[in-house]
């Protein structure tokens, strides 16, 4: 739908939303991705549905990797035409509303969706495709328990028989969420496999409570002991630097972003774009152009140090960050403010042993929790009171920074809100 065909109230609401967002940015109060949507939805509660109408939409949800996968997917679908997207990680309905209002009329939209809001956004936007990445523990004091989240997704999909699902065959929780949808009709789910490092939330079958059995010979294989949930055969797979499509054709993805997890995110993006009619061969070069995502993976040179920013919010993403980080001096920063969750117990779910032998610095509001954790983990460290102190404490060269959400934003602010 073009903007001038919006209902009058929606058109006014979209205009207010854009103005508020612009004011927010101009006054330096934020990037405007929440306030604009909030004001617009006060004027027209159905604004998201009105703005979504007429666009071909993909949603991307999961505990980890959704911002990067959304960016990759937007780049891939961009082969076809203009794509609206919430590229700043504002992944609740206010953020979606802002993103669509700001983009104006576009034929396509790719939206990152907080996993708790998937049902609501499915209803409002009637997407063509929804990508389900993974589910693991995150923000222990507030987030829905993992199995409950999988159940909510399953129920949400039951109300949308026409949506195509691109889902992770390696995560039993995701498979449970999508299994009924897959069983209800052939070709409704495309399965991908990208390997899964974190498995501590998938010991028990969400369907029946029996154990999930792993296979010694094939590290990705799994099945519920009673056999009622089995890893589906994936159509899209990855190797170290390539994505293999359902026809068995390998596409080299020369990503600037580090880590095998991002090859997996690329595979997901190519699978989603394929549903829009984009060939992986056309889309793959677009992914190589992505250098950073809302500050994640960004590299900044300061005082002779090349500082690289890695976001790690929960145990699963810490494991991935250790895989990406080079064996160089590393700064870890931990906060426990509202967006991070207040319970830091999860630090003991992360094995920091890969950092042994590197110069490790720690900072952040909850550096003492991290200090106790590292001591028990036999990882020597130095506590610094500020980011500047950390930069001064390391020799010229690479400094890897791994931080959780608000700690990451604090450091990004020190680096002039690098994107």
């Amino acid at each position: 739908m073009t903007e001038n065909k919006l209902p009058l109230r929606a058109s006014l609401a979209a205009s207010v939303s854009r103005t508020a967002a612009a004011l927010s940015r101009a006054t330096g109060r934020g990037d405007g991705s929440v306030i604009g949507g909030r004001l617009g939805m006060m004027i027209d509660p159905d604004l998201l549905a009105h703005l979504a109408a007429g666009r071909r939409i993909a949603l991307v949800s999961g505990t980890n990797g959704k911002t990067t996968t959304t960016r990759f997917t937007a780049a891939a679908v961009g082969v076809l035409g203009e794509v609206a997207t919430n590229s700043f990680g504002a992944n609740m309905p206010t953020g979606h509303t802002s993103a669509l209002a700001r983009a104006g009329a576009t034929p396509y939209a790719v939206l990152e969706v907080d996993e708790h809001y998937l049902a609501q956004v499915l209803r409002a936007t009637t997407p063509l495709v929804v990508a389900l990445l993974n589910l693991s523990r995150d923000q222990l004091d507030r987030a829905k328990e993992v199995a409950m989240m999988a159940q909510l997704w399953r129920v949400a999909l039951a109300d949308h028989p026409d949506v195509h699902v691109v889902a992770n065959a390696d995560d039993p929780m995701v498979v449970y969420a999508a299994a009924a949808h897959a069983a209800a009709g052939a070709g409704r789910v495309t399965w991908f496999s990208a390997g899964q490092r974190w498995r501590e939330d998938a010991h028990v079958c969400p369907a029946c409570g029996a154990h999930i059995e792993r296979d010694e010979a094939d590290e990705d294989a799994w099945r519920c002991a009673t056999g009622d949930l089995v890893r589906p055969e994936p159509q899209w797979t990855v190797d170290e630097s390539g994505v293999i499509d359902p026809d068995g054709v390998r596409h080299e993805v020369k990503l600037q972003l580090p880590g095998k997890v991002n090859v997996g995110n690329a595979a997901t993006a190519l699978a989603v774009a394929h549903r829009f009619g984009v060939s992986p061969a056309d889309a793959a070069p677009r992914l190589a152009e992505v250098a950073s995502v809302a500050g994640r993976y960004a590299q900044v040179d300061r005082d002779g140090r090349n500082i690289r920013l890695l976001l790690a919010k929960n145990p699963a993403s810490w494991l991935e960050a250790f895989d990406m980080a080079e064996e160089q001096p590393t700064l870890l920063s931990i906060n426990a403010r509202d967006p991070d969750g207040f319970d830091t117990s999860w630090l003991f779910d992360v094995d920091f042993a890969p950092l042994r032998g590197r110069q490790v610095l720690i900072t952040g509001d909850r550096a003492y929790d991290l200090a106790v954790r590292l001591e028990v983990n036999d990882v020597p460290f130095t506590h610094v009171k500020s980011f500047d102190e950390a930069v001064a404490a390391v020799p010229p060269g690479r400094l890897e920074v791994i931080a959780n959400y608000t700690a990451f934003q604090d450091i990004r602010a020190e680096l002039d809100r690098v994107v």
């Binding site: 507030r142 028990v204 830091t344 003991f348 779910d349 003492y368 028990v376």
Partner: protein, 235 residues
């Protein structure tokens, strides 16, 4: 039976939602600091509980909590451990299932009946910093932790609370946790022993029979305690 101290982590496949591995790692670390050899054993819920000196039970979601109670009731290994005065340290969901009954998924479930207490649902979810004065008989400094539970726990006449609440809810807003023989239960995460090293050492002394343990360098746990007790408004 080995000469090393046996620390048994009960059902990490079901009850390990709140960094519960940490309590095992901290006990092992603090034992090794004193030259005490340690074996740690992780026991899945489809395995029999082995002989141990210290049993750790963690927190978890309603479904796994109910399942863990059923399997422990059938296994009886924890009952035998309590009978021979092995040390048990249970947190949150693991604490509740030591009692006679608890609520999970809206239904009353049978507990293990190892300690005279029962748990039901409270009017609100208790989420936030938890602190309290530990029973003076245990000779420990103030308890600090982070709680996140919807239950309320009621102690029977034969057992004592671990602490009197100074901040947060704990059992019921007045008392927190339980102490009975060599069994301790608490709602504290953090994990609990990261913020309460003296409590970790008490469990080690009970398990080894040592009257005292060499004082280690507790610079970081001490700073952490100070910060968290400050956050709870108690310093």
């Amino acid at each position: 039976m080995s000469s090393a101290l046996q620390i048994v982590w009960v059902y990490p496949d079901l009850l390990s939602t709140y960094g519960d591995r940490g309590n095992m790692l901290i006990l092992a670390h603090r034992a090794r600091m004193r030259g005490i050899p340690v074996d740690t054993v992780e026991v899945r819920s489809d395995q029999a509980l082995p002989y141990g000196d210290i049993y750790l039970i963690g927190g978890g979601e309603d479904g796994p909590q109910a399942l863990a109670a059923q399997r422990l009731a059938a296994d009886r290994g924890l009952h035998r451990a309590v009978d021979r005065r092995a040390v048990v340290f249970a947190v949150c969901a693991g604490y509740q299932l030591l009692g006679t009954s608890f609520f999970a998924k809206g239904a009353k479930c049978d507990g293990l009946g190892l300690v005279d207490l029962h748990s039901d649902r409270g009017p609100t979810r208790a989420v936030g910093e938890l602190a309290g004065d530990i029973d003076p008989a245990l000779g420990l400094p103030m308890l600090t932790g982070f709680e996140n539970h919807g239950g309320r726990t009621h102690l029977g006449p034969g057992v004592k609370p671990l602490a009197k609440v100074r901040a947060g809810i704990g059992n019921d807003g007045a008392t927190e946790g339980v102490w009975s023989g060599t069994v301790i239960g608490t709602y504290s995460h953090g994990p609990a022993l990261s913020r309460n090293p003296a409590l970790a050492d008490l469990l080690l002394r009970w398990a080894t029979g040592e009257e005292s343990l060499a004082a280690p360098d507790d610079t970081w746990p001490t700073r952490l305690r100070g910060e968290r007790l400050g956050a709870a408004g108690l310093v």
